[in-house]
Amino acid sequence: MSGVGYFDILKLAMPETIVALAALVVLFIDLGIMRPAEGKFRRMIAALVTGTSCLVAIFWMHQVQQETAPGFLSGLLVVDPLTQLVKQGVLVLTLFTAWVSIDSTFTDHTGEYFALLLLATVGMMFLVSAENLLMIFISLELLSLSLYILTAFNKRNLRSAEAALKYFLFGGMAAAFTLFGLSLLYGLTGSIELRPIAAALKGKGLDPALAAAIVMTVIGFGFKIAAVPFHLWAPDAYEGAPTPSAALVASGSKVASFFILGKVMMIGFAGAEGNGAWRALASGWVPLLAVIAVVSMLLGNLAAIAQSNVKRLLAYSAIAHGGYALLAVLTDNLQGVAALIYYVVTYALTVLGAFGVVSVVEEKAGEARFSDFAGLSRRAPLLSFCMMIFMLSLAGIPPLAGFFGKFYVFTAAVNAQAKNLGLLWLVVFAIAMSAVSLYYYLQVLKQIYVAESSTNAPALKPSAPFLAGIVLVAAGVLALGCAPNLLVGELSAAIKAAGF
């Protein structure tokens, strides 16, 4: 490791540093200067600082093209075009999360809220850059701890505390499993770097200890991505958490977690794939993820039908979407990586927008039941139109981003075993399930467009900057759907350059 100065590392980790510093700045400004100001103004300023730091970090990554050599710093910090691209995605999501928080009045601790938002983002960024078990675990914990607190942030609401407690208890357990799995892996291979691990595992076959390590690791990540059967926290956490926090849990955190899951599986466990083809199942991580994907899609979609609260519905739909995204992971090839990133980024953007709309309704009505959305299209036409875009994108209707995401994932999955169409059964199942999903998304839209609002329903007047944020997200979803190449082209180039 000689020859690597602290200055070099600082330069490589500059985007993370910027965001971490911004967390401190937000705290300082809010507590030191803005304290006497009116709540709305405080939130605006804090969001402005948050957003600016995200933009600066993105700008830095654009301007300073750097790349780490393989094995640099034992994979603690991997900088290549792909990780940079994913980090930019995460930053954009944080930016919009901060943006949709400006109208939310659930807390007076504005500075702390935005600082935690930024710290969670730092966790995500390090997570994305990690190819080292130790670093993966630490950044995962930084991310998770920030999210637990963000979930509990509404002190006035008992639900919020309950949600956070559930989230925390499940999360703690999952972390223990992850740690156990990772330590097994270290014991088996004597390394904590993904690529050397894969090299050490090569040709050994699937011995029981390795199988245990795979299962434990998958349990840990399965919790983060809310895959069945590790999903139990999700509906309560989504419902109880303040809506902007839920938006972060559902968006940025998902992107980072899926990316690292894909990396650990495809790079770290290379050689222990097994086979997920219909009549040729062979044990390994692919069939394991295949089973998890199937039950996630099944349970997520079916349980979502029974919901009458939009936040819970979004939680179950998140479980289902986790299942679709897992299909991209288990393709185990480069097209799958591109599809995975496209899918989770566009999904995160969409669900972020949806939570933004929900937060407006919830702010007025106190809850987010279906009936609170009745007749929304006449109370807030623009907001409703955006919600229509988000819901239809989640359902996978063209020309929205959700449709192309699904198409891309499914094509990649079928392509993975093009000769015998081995994974077609998964795709058939996924497409069938996505036909089911249209039903419940239409239920939400039915409330908004078809149902009449009750006469005493309050008028909704979201502030202009907030509305601009939502419209921008909706425009993004539409643009990425109409011109998928905006992202797909970049992704393909980055993956090629990164030599994933």
Partner: protein, 503 residues
């Protein structure tokens, strides 16, 4: 230039959303202008293009997957684009009385039209699928917001059936894309790829039935009657007029050209389903009490001819099928216009028993006359477009499967029966007063009512005349369309079907 049919419609929809909310008249006029512009473009484009295959626009869309934004037109597309143009204009004329959230109504309406144009002009399978699914959502809202009888149920059923169908199609096209392995979604390239026979054996029924669900293939037709009945007049005109054609078009354009060997293998079973649909739809129509249900089931029956024509796998059958799509689009639209707008919006009932006592031929003479013409066309009387189309389908079918042709012929006979029954009951019912003196009082009431019915309005007359004229012109001079359809069957697209010994 033809691609502007799509853009005009979407632009129109976008403009509508910007109009003030409570000005229904502005919304109507804007929508009508948009639809007429679309139709004008379609008409001019058709004259310019002729029957061969013309590429309108072909740019790379998603290079990594080899997807192109490829719009093109051959005679079959042109026929259906013309149909869409006419149906769109007529539909707006027949929804002139929409006051409730008019601007949204027409915005959804034009989005649907844009999607339909898009399907007919797409020559990239991915693009076609995008437009195909794009058309699902406006249908849902049109029915759920502005519909009648059990509208939310009908709307959801229609949306889910369409979505399940398109899910089947999606599986098929992804599999075809991967198996061909050429990184192309171009319809022409894929149609020339020789897919292995065992692959076609399952991919064909998957994609064909996926599309045909929307064409009302028995036994997947059940969305059609409920959806048609629940829909507002303009939407049911579009459903019967063009949306069902989307299904038939997709089945022909994608399923059959890509998987000709599969089509050959499944010829008999699917033809059997089509004939069952013809006879079943007609028989069920015969027993309905609701005027609109009769028309709804008649759509299933008539669409059976389209699918039967496709399954003949010979040129005259194909020609007949495409002509029948056009013809039923016009006639079905006309029938729904009479039922939904002229009768139901005035009498506020569609029960045939109730209509019987209303003496509608006196109260609404224009509606009665229109319906007489529409019934004649629907029964397939010579001189109307339905005759030419069904005759060609039957000739084609006779070459392939004589027994089933006889069954389809019986279907036509039943068609005559239910059409005459409904014509007689709805418009020329005997006023029961003379028969049963005890009901005089209630009869006096019901007889007084019709004279309170508002007369048929100008836009309605105009719309009806357009549709009637079209079916007559095509019936008397079918070469107008045949000259478009027949040459396009020689394009490389149908190479596979020809090689399979079909044409």
């Amino acid at each position: 230039m033809l691609s502007w049919t799509i853009y005009t419609s979407f632009l129109g929809a976008a403009v509508l959303t910007l109009l003030p909310r409570d000005n229904a008249q502005a919304a109507r006029v804007a929508a009508l202008l948009t639809a007429m512009a679309g139709f004008a473009v379609a008409l001019v484009g058709t004259f310019k293009a002729g029957g061969g295959l013309n590429t309108l626009c072909d740019v790379s869309w998603v290079p990594t997957l080899g997807i192109h934004y490829h719009l093109a037109a051959d005679g079959i597309s042109l026929t259906l684009v013309l149909l869409t143009g006419i149906a769109a204009v007529a539909g707006i004329l027949f929804s002139w009385n929409i006051e409730h959230r008019a601007k949204e109504f027409f915005a959804f309406y034009l989005t649907l039209i844009g999607g339909v144009y898009g399907v007919f002009l797409s020559f990239d399978v991915f693009l076609l699928f995008v437009f195909y699914e794009l058309a699902i959502i406006p249908k849902y809202f049109l029915i759920a917001i502005w519909g009648s009888t059990r509208k939310e149920y009908g709307a959801m059923k229609l949306a889910l059936y369409s979505f399940v169908g398109s899910a089947m199609v999606l599986i098929g096209i992804i599999a075809a894309y991967v198996v061909a392995g050429a990184k192309t979604m171009s319809l022409i390239d894929l149609a020339q790829y020789p897919f292995p026979e065992h692959f076609q054996a399952w991919a064909f029924p998957l994609v064909f039935i996926g599309f045909a669900i929307l064409a009302g293939l028995w036994p997947f037709h059940t969305w059609a009657p409920t959806g048609h009945v629940a829909a507002p007049t303009a939407a049911s005109m579009l459903l019967a007029g063009v949306v069902m054609k989307l299904g038939a078009y997709g089945a022909f354009r994608v399923a059959m050209t890509l998987f000709p060997l599969g089509a050959k293998a499944w010829q008999m079973p699917i033809a059997l389903l089509a004939v069952t649909g013809i006879v079943y739809g007609a028989m069920v129509a015969l027993t309905q009490k609701d005027f609109k249900f009769v028309i709804g089931y008649s759509s299933v029956s008539h669409m059976g001819f389209v699918l039967l024509g496709l399954m003949t796998l010979n040129e005259i059958g194909f020609t007949g099928a495409v002509l029948q799509m056009f013809s039923h689009g016009i006639i079905g639209g006309l029938l729904f216009a009479v039922v939904g707008r002229m009768v139901y919006d005035r009498a506020h009932t569609r029960e045939l028993d109730a209509l019987e006592g209303m003496d509608l031929n006196k109260a609404l003479p224009f509606a009665a006359a229109t319906f007489v013409v529409a019934s004649a066309a629907s029964m397939g009387l010579p001189g109307f477009s339905g005759f030419v189309a069904e005759l060609q389908v039957l000739i084609g079918a006779w070459r392939s499967f004589p027994t089933m042709t006889v069954c389809a012929g019986i279907g036509i006979l039943i068609g005559v029966a239910y059409t005459l029954r409904v014509l007689q009951k709805a418009f020329f019912g005997e006023v029961a007063a003379e028969v049963n003196p005890r009901q005089t009082e209630s009869d006096a009431l019901s007889r007084a009512q019709p004279h309170g019915l508002e007369p048929i309005s100008g836009p309605e007359r105009f719309g009806a005349v357009i549709l009637m004229a079209t079916t007559l012109v095509i019936g008397l001079y079918p070469r107008l369309l045949l000259d478009l359809i027949v040459p396009s069957l020689n394009s490389p697209l149908f190479e596979g079907l020809r090689r399979a010994g079909a044409l």
